[in-house]
């Protein structure tokens, strides 16, 4: 720290006297590099997201504690009633609970984007001659790390609770990859809302009516054959149902082309629809 004579609010800088020549010299350099590729620009934004995690590690609490709570809650709440024992129920529940938890935290992506917009940071990025979606794609790549963390936490907790996937490590990893790929695509919904809505709180507010029906009205907790017909109809077309089925299969070491195709087509549709709207909104802001 600097000497005691300097004023407190400008400590290291009070005695700074700019030398116009030196400032100007910085502008004289014409060795400016070529514009970065789409990938390089996205990776730079991803690096920004990682730096933020480094400086504010508390933000990782949400993505670890929340999944732990819902896994424990549902396992012990329903385990006895639905499957006779928690150990048995966790075999059925775990892939589904991983899907739900990861999708629930995708909402934070929208809140992060909204904060950046509100603070005006995107203004600077938008005056750079770079691939336009890079700022959004990069931020999302950073968030994928949180999804990986959340999925890992749940699987480890599941193992502790007695979960033993018959697909072994390979099957489990394949299942996690599928969930994370879907979460990446699903996040574009939140990016759109983040760009569209006025505050972080509004993003949070719209997320509940979207997330709850999609995740709960699925086959995560119980077999849909016990549900009334109209509900079964919704559950059947809900992409989350197909994702949960495909995830269970992968974890069990089997797979069904039909289910995987459903999931991957849903991903493509989500990215095309919400990605396009998001980029439009980003350009228009």
């Amino acid at each position: 720290m600097s000497t005691a004579t300097t004023p407190p609010e400008d400590d290291t800088a009070a005695d700074y006297t700019p030398v116009p020549d030196r400032v100007g010299a910085l502008l004289n350099r014409r060795d400016a590099p070529n514009r970065p590729s789409a990938l390089a620009a996205s990776l730079a934004f991803c690096w920004r997201a990682l730096l933020k995690i480094k400086h504010v590690p508390e933000q990782m609490i949400d993505v670890t504690v929340f999944p732990i709570i819902i896994t424990l809650m549902f396992t012990f709440l329903f385990g006895g009633a639905l499957a006779g024992s928690t150990r048995e129920y966790v075999q059925f529940l775990l892939p589904g609970i991983m899907v739900i938890s990861v999708l629930m935290i995708t909402m934070y992506t929208g809140m992060g984007i909204n904060t950046d917009v509100e603070k005006g940071i995107f203004d600077r990025f938008r005056t750079l001659p770079i691939w336009r979606p890079a700022a959004l794609v990069g931020a999302l790549l950073g968030d994928v790390l949180r999804y990986v963390l959340a999925a890992t936490v749940i699987v480890l907790l599941g193992l502790v609770l007695g979960y033993r996937p018959s697909g072994g490590a390979t099957g489990m990893i394949a299942a996690m990859v599928l969930v994370i790929v879907f979460a990446f695509a699903f996040s574009w919904i939140w990016i759109m809302f983040g760009l569209l809505l006025r505050s972080e709180k509004s993003v949070m507010a719209v997320s509940m009516p979207v997330l709850f029906p999609l995740t709960f009205l699925s086959n995560v907790f119980v077999d849909p054959s016990t549900m009334p017909g109209w509900l079964q109809a919704f559950v059947k077309v809900n992409p989350i149902t197909h994702l949960v089925t495909a995830t269970r299969q992968l974890a069990a070491g089997t797979w069904d082309t039909g289910e995987l195709a459903w999931v991957l087509v849903s991903c493509a549709v989500l990215i095309v629809v919400f990605g396009t709207i998001s980029i439009r909104l980003y350009n228009r802001k």
Partner: protein, 328 residues
């Protein structure tokens, strides 16, 4: 390449319009900023300065009219414009949650520098802007002046040909303000054009070679600082009397000597005279004579100042003029 005399101006707009709901934030703006100069955009709150600058920096689409930056259209050739301009917004657009170095390295990478070169470039900028000691501190812990500087450093990282500075000194203390002024001088010395918005005539006067005064989205006057000032008078004399009961007498005396109406402010001790277009020397001369006469008449003056017209005064004078001129 083009001969200097045929080179396009840094900024040229005609009839630029931006509407927000019912507000015509920018309403037919015509500007021409010659390359290589500091150009001042002077106007009060809500005049449309920020909106105009955002359109020129490709951040907002105009609703009407045209704007070219070095001959490139801001809508059709947005990418070309982006590769030549940079904006330091009114509100800092650096990342609070990153350190000074990280902010600059990120931008350098986004401009295509590889990581080692990006680090080098960041270090150079931090050094020239007096931020080396603060480089590893989060920007949210910076003082107002330091934030401004890192923001400007981030804006010149890409060696822009045109730099927009939107109210770069609003809210800064005098020392930080002087630092920013020196930086602007350095930037323009090396050929970069600067378009600066400000609410202070004083600032435009010190830095800009030409000024456009804007109000309600339109240019209401344009010229060199000297032209603008002489068009509305050399300055203003402010007096503070010890005894408010002597104000009427003092006012009459002043009016006769200065050759301009003395105005009574809401403060009962104060008197203000706007000095005519004769120039500062004559004004100072008359003012000293007036002071002597006041003393002789037994009127005690506690405080006296001869100042440049404030933006308020420039502004009031100009809007009065446009009102007078419009019926003709």
């Amino acid at each position: 390449m083009a001969h200097p005399s045929t080179a396009p101006p840094a900024v040229e707009t005609s009839g630029l319009v931006k509407v927000f709901g019912k507000t015509r934030a920018v309403d037919g703006l015509d500007l021409r900023v010659p390359a290589g100069t500091v150009y001042g955009l002077l106007g009060p709150n809500g005049a449309g300065k920020t909106t105009a600058v955002r359109m020129l920096a490709t951040l907002t689409r105009p609703d009407g009219g045209e704007a070219q930056i070095f001959g490139h259209d801001v809508v059709r050739d947005a990418d070309q414009v982006r590769s030549r301009v940079s904006l330091t917004g009114q509100y800092a657009s650096v990342d609070d949650d990153l350190t000074g170095t990280e902010n600059l390295v990120l931008l350098a990478r986004l401009l295509g520098y590889r990581t080692p070169a990006a680090r080098e470039r960041a270090a150079e900028l931090l050094d020239a802007f007096g931020l080396t000691e603060a480089r590893s501190r989060l920007v949210k812990k910076y003082s107002g002046g330091m934030r401004r500087r890192i923001d400007i450093a981030a804006s010149i990282l890409n060696t822009p040909d045109l730099l927009f500075l939107d109210e770069p000194t609003t809210g800064l203390d005098p020392r930080s303000r002087n630092q920013v002024w020196d930086i602007v001088r350095g930037v323009v010395q090396h050929g970069t054009t600067v378009l600066l918005t400000t609410q202070y005539l004083d600032e435009a006067d010190r830095l800009a070679s030409r000024i456009a005064v804007i109000d309600t989205g339109k240019v209401i006057a344009e010229g060199t600082p000297a032209e603008l000032k002489s068009s509305i008078g050399a300055g203003t004399v402010h007096l503070r009397l010890r005894d408010p009961h002597q104000r009427a007498e003092a006012g009459a005396l002043l009016t006769s000597i200065m050759g301009a109406e003395a105005q009574s402010d809401s403060d009962p001790h104060a008197l203000t005279v706007r000095v005519g277009a004769a120039g500062n020397d004559a004004a100072a001369d008359k003012a000293s004579r007036a002071l002597a006469d006041l003393a002789r008449a037994g009127i005690t003056v506690d405080n006296f100042s001869l100042g440049q017209p404030s933006l308020d005064e420039v502004f009031l004078a100009l809007t009065d003029k446009t009102k007078e001129a419009s019926p003709a």
